[in-house]
């Protein structure tokens, strides 16, 4: 049965979302999918150096990542996001890449701290000069280490990025 929307009272609550009282919501696939994704970013627990301590502090009660739906998962197969927290050494790079490869799509990478962004102070033989050399990084969080608020801001930037994605449903569109 088709509803003639001109005669019933559709209420526009925001751009692209209309409500037909009492309980019908009309919106686009992008909006509902992006809303679901950004409200439940589950990062995999993966700490590499001192930034991991700040990441743990951000996840614990005081800064409380849970209120944004950000819950750390113990397995990459159950996660959507990876926070590269710390210095990536060349010996560790294959492991980091393997953990990333196990995350199901859609997946996101947050480079946390100077070392993960650029290599930081370690312009040396054993340090990867930025994890974007082998990972597609979405958000760079600077700092050495970044405060938990900074990481929180980075995660909110990631939420904004997810909110404006269009048709990210498969590799073939």
């Amino acid at each position: 049965m088709l509803i003639d929307t001109s005669t019933v009272g559709l209420i526009q609550v925001e751009e692209g979302t209309k409500i037909l009282p009492p309980n019908i919501i009309i919106t686009t696939f992008d909006k509902i999918i992006n809303w679901g994704r950004l409200s439940s970013i589950w990062p995999t627990t993966f700490g590499l150096a001192c930034c991991a301590i700040e990441m743990m502090a951000a996840g614990a009660a005081h800064y409380d990542f849970d209120r944004f739906g950000i819950i750390f998962r113990g397995s990459p197969r159950q996660a959507d996001c990876m926070i590269i927290a710390g210095t990536v050494t060349k010996k560790m790079a294959p492991v980091v890449r393997r953990v990333y490869d196990q995350i199901p799509e859609p997946r996101y990478v947050v480079a946390m701290g100077s070392c993960a962004c650029t290599g930081g102070i370690f312009r040396t033989y054993n340090t990867v000069q930025g994890c974007d050399t082998f990972l597609p990084v979405d958000v760079y969080v600077p700092g050495c280490p970044p405060r938990p608020e900074t990481l929180l801001e980075g995660m909110m930037k990631l939420q904004e990025k997810i909110r404006h994605e269009q048709a990210r449903w498969s590799p073939w569109r």
Binding site: K90, A93, N126, Q166
Partner: protein, 193 residues
């Protein structure tokens, strides 16, 4: 209320560092090359040949009793001094609270020295690190593998003639270059928004 702070008296009086150096010199007159004193830290520079005997003597002698190897590390004096390498033993006596530093000279060609793992078991990983970073071979070591770097890494990075920023990208450790090429190959399978 008065609080009286007294210095805790040590039950066993140790030897002065210079006295310990004299004892080593007496026992091994042909082995000791030099004794240096920098701010009351006495170093005994020895030849590498009988390092096992010297360490055994320092460990077992009742008045010395160096039962604790605080640290074992290597030094590279590339272009500054001959012989090029030194292996440094920082020793401490838990009973007598005295300490000494023994430095064994190791030349550049044929850089090896005997292990001290049979005297202090803790030297095992220290010697592995020294081997990893300086390429000094410890003869008689039970398990001489690299401890920090990947096992197929080329070169010894704390040597002064090793490039500071690491090897050239094409000559880099193959495990890392494989990751770079694989990430390029997998790029097309990423979901694009």
């Amino acid at each position: 209320m008065a609080v009286v702070l007294t210095r805790i008296s040590l039950p066993f009086k140790g030897l002065e560092p210079t006295e310990i150096a004299e004892k080593i010199k007496e026992k091994f007159p042909n082995e000791v090359v030099d004794v240096t004193n920098f701010r009351d830290q006495v170093s005994v520079i020895v030849k590498r040949g009988r390092i096992g005997d010297i360490c055994r003597y320092l460990h077992d002698e009742p008045v010395l009793l160096f039962e604790h190897l605080q640290d074992l590390c290597g030094v590279d004096y590339h272009g500054k001094k001959e012989p090029r390498f030194e292996v440094v033993y920082n020793l401490y006596s838990i009973k007598y609270h005295h300490r000494i530093r023994v430095r064994a000279q190791v030349p550049e060609n044929d850089s090896h020295i005997h292990t001290v793992t049979s005297i202090w078991a803790g030297a095992n990983w220290h010697e592995r690190e020294c081997f990893d970073m300086f390429g000094i071979e410890f003869k008689g070591h039970p398990d001489l593998r690299r401890i920090l770097l990947p096992e197929d890494w080329e070169g010894h990075p704390l040597r002064k003639d090793y490039p500071l920023k690491g090897p050239e990208p094409e000559k880099d450790w193959h495990g890392f270059t494989e990751v770079l090429t694989r990430s390029k190959e997998l790029r097309e399978f990423e979901w694009e928004g």
